[in-house]
């Protein structure tokens, strides 16, 4: 199974993503330069963290117009799994693949810390192996990670069960103290209405090696593998029936 890791000028977690994915059995990740135009060879797409285009104007504002984004948007609309971590999440919001926006942290400080999140939805392609209420620990490192959505969008996100992860304390309580950046309703990660696009501010890529303090990030990647395999089996069966 092959994952693409998009490299924008200014991406800086691309190597972390490659290392994390290649560390998992049966998975292979390759860099794709942002000037490429096709992602046909890949089963899933990862937009890594960093500061694409220096984050000039707004985080992700310029990256969303990179040539590869046409393929990312096309493949996302066709149902391919797309994961955006940190800056990748910001790019997905700017590109309109995810609702809402990420703004300056409420504290005005760049936060670099380990956070705990609670799994709110366990049947997404990204949280298959995590029962509802599971706590995941991953690092965050961002200055603009405060998730914002207007009241109407927020209501839709909740009604459609698109909020996958919320910041929580180590007992799973959703508290303001557990919120590293001031995100509305402690939202850490959301998926698209069709559930195949997922963005989160924390870094699964930096939580994929026990020596770094957590391997909870691998749960996200493994879940994607399961979802892709299940989808393949279903479509093969459908072909046989046809």
């Amino acid at each position: 199974m092959k994952f693409a890791v998009i490299q924008f000028p200014g991406s800086n977690c691309d190597q972390d993503c490659i290392a994390a994915i290649n560390g998992l059995e049966g998975l292979h990740a390759e860099y794709v330069w942002h000037k490429e135009k096709s992602l046909d060879d890949f089963d899933a797409i990862v937009l890594p963290g960093g500061f694409a285009y220096g984050d000039y104007l707004r985080c992700g504002a310029i990256a969303r117009f990179s040539p590869i984004m046409r393929a990312v948007i096309g493949d996302a609309r066709a149902g391919k799994l797309v994961l955006g971590t940190c800056n990748g999440f910001q790019v997905l919001c700017e590109a309109g693949l995810l609702p809402g926006a990420l703004v300056r942290n409420r504290s005005l400080r760049f936060v670099c810390d380990m956070v705990t999140m609670r799994v709110e939805v366990d049947d997404s392609p990204f949280t298959h192996g995590c029962p509802k209420g599971t706590l995941l620990r991953m690092p965050v490192a961002h200055g603009e990670g405060c998730f914002f959505a207007n009241a109407e969008t927020l209501q839709e996100l909740n009604a459609n069960r698109q909020v996958i992860l919320r910041y929580a304390d180590n007992r799973g309580r959703i508290l303001p103290e557990a919120n590293p950046n001031g995100s509305i309703e402690n939202i850490a990660g959301i998926c698209s209405r069709e559930r195949n696009v997922f963005g989160l501010m924390p870094h699964p890529d930096r939580a994929s090696d026990a020596r770094l303090g957590s391997i909870d990030g691998t749960k996200i990647f493994r879940s994607m593998v399961q979802a892709i395999s299940a989808n393949r089996t279903t479509s093969e069966r459908a072909k046989q029936v046809a």
């Binding site: 104007l57 707004r58 504002a61 310029i62 117009f65 919001c93 700017e94 609702p99 809402g100 926006a101 703004v103 300056r104 942290n105 409420r106 504290s107 005005l108 405060c146 914002f148 959505a149 207007n150 009241a151 001031g182």
Partner: protein, 91 residues
């Protein structure tokens, strides 16, 4: 290419402001600093962006394309409003 010397041009000013519902912690920090510096009368500060754009040519079609880019690139309509002002200029 239109000659810069003889062609018409316009200067456009774009102001991008965070929407009222969006938290502006930067503005709040500046508001607090102003109050500390002896101006307790300051009620609020909102911080946005100001851009000056120099454009070759001058017509309605150019302007509508500029508005398009204001919505797509220069501002994010989810969190910001923009205002575009022309300042006519012939060179």
């Amino acid at each position: 290419m239109i000659s810069r010397k003889y062609g018409e041009a316009m200067k456009v000013k774009v102001v991008v402001m965070p929407k009222a519902a969006v938290l502006d912690p930067q503005g709040n920090a500046v508001r607090d600093a102003m109050r500390h510096l002896g101006m307790p009368e300051v009620r609020s500060v909102r911080i946005g962006k100001y851009m000056e754009i120099d454009v070759e040519g001058k017509n309605g079609e150019l302007e509508s394309r500029l508005h398009g880019l204001c919505r797509d690139l220069l501002s994010n309509p989810v969190i910001e409003d923009y205002e575009l002002k022309k300042t006519e200029e012939s060179r």
